[in-house]
């Protein structure tokens, strides 16, 4: 099994590499912009810009 898989960065259009075990719902950082991206599907791997943090978020 490959250790990494690639997906398109929805903000820059560039191909980015992610660990092969990414989960739907996981948040990853865009290597180019540092923006938070959400994994919305793994087969195929699709990323979207993650929602902004909201006021009542957190432990």
């Amino acid at each position: 099994m490959a250790d990494t898989i690639t997906a398109e960065d929805p903000l820059t259009g560039e191909e980015i590499e992610l660990p092969a075990d990414v989960e739907v719902g996981e948040i990853v950082d865009s290597p180019a912009t540092g923006a938070e991206l959400e994994v919305v599907s793994v087969d195929p791997l699709v990323l979207e810009e993650a929602p902004e943090l909201e006021e009542d978020w957190g432990e």
Binding site: E23, V24, E26, V39, A50, E55, W57, G58, E59
Partner: protein, 291 residues
């Protein structure tokens, strides 16, 4: 067992739990809280086969409502709706700790800027003003002077959400540059760390340095009491050292543990899953005995 993981973001904390559960052969049902509808009578179909739900919602409002629905459906949830309700609100948290006789910083709640100013003047400077809902140290103010107090109160009154018009004023505790985070399951400590910073806020989310901490008997006793005070469960208990004793300033109900896991020798997700397995086993025995 089949563990439902209620989430809106999979952070490293959730990923550690998912890996541990799957490695042990448990089924995991991931439930994206943003995609579900919660009927007042019937649980959503995604919950059909779960034995227990772990609430890992980031948004407090979602956590509070979702756990209430799960309770109503009779589906075990960690943490319970009662625990979430007490822990999500700093005023309720402080009331529960004080009622249980757990040492906690002196706190007052006021509802207008004038009466909040009176509270602040009583506490003297510095003192602390916190939002009743929120975390990661956000929007907390250490108030050093009357002019700063007036400015902060005016900003909160003018710009704030209604919850920011509940003024939670607290004594400033002179801690030794660090506080203590204990992760506990039903009051039993799993691991503890200090969070050190030169800043008065020592949240891990604010970049405080985490170091493993050995709890003494008094700290263990307070962790148990604080856990019981909010209804138990999987909790993050925060303590400060006051010289001769400790003061418990907060109990967190959707506890993050990645910083703790990195700082200590204990395998935190493994300990959490151990506890979850034991809890599901004991709940099912109780259910069988009741039939």
């Amino acid at each position: 067992m089949n563990v439902g993981l209620l989430y809106s973001r999979i952070r490293r904390d959730e990923k550690l739990l998912l890996s541990e559960l799957r490695e042990r052969g448990h089924e995991v049902t991931k439930i994206d809280v943003r995609k579900e509808q919660f009927d007042i009578s019937e649980p959503p179909a995604i919950l059909d086969d779960v034995d227990v739900v772990l609430d890992r919602c980031l948004a407090t409002s979602r956590s509070l409502y979702a756990t209430q629905f799960l309770d109503a459906y009779g589906i075990p949830v960690v943490n319970s709706a009662e625990t979430a309700d007490v822990c999500a609100d700093k005023a309720k948290n402080s009331l529960a700790l004080a009622k249980a006789g757990v040492p906690t910083p002196n706190t007052e709640v006021a509802f207008t800027t004038d009466s909040a100013m009176e509270s602040i003047e009583k506490f003297g400077y510095p003192c602390v003003l916190k939002p009743v809902v929120g975390s990661w140290g956000r929007l907390m103010a250490k108030i050093d002077s009357p002019s700063a107090a007036e400015a902060i109160l005016e900003h909160k009154a003018t710009l704030g959400h209604y919850q920011h018009k509940v003024f939670y004023v607290q004594e400033f505790v002179e801690k030794p540059g660090r506080d203590i985070r204990v992760l506990a399951v039903d009051g039993e400590p799993v691991a503890a760390m200090t969070r050190s910073s030169e800043h008065w806020l020592t949240n891990a989310a604010k970049g405080a340095e985490a170091t493993e901490f050995e709890l003494d008997d008094r700290a263990k006793e307070l962790v148990k009491q604080a856990s019981d005070a909010v209804g138990g469960g999987l909790l993050g208990v925060d303590l400060m050292e006051t010289g001769e004793d400790y003061t418990v300033h907060e109990v967190n109900h959707t506890v993050e543990f990645k910083a703790l896991n990195d700082a200590v020798d204990v395998d935190v997700p493994a300990a959490v899953v151990d506890w979850l397995e034991a809890k599901v086993e004991s709940d099912s025995q109780l259910a069988e005995a009741a039939v």
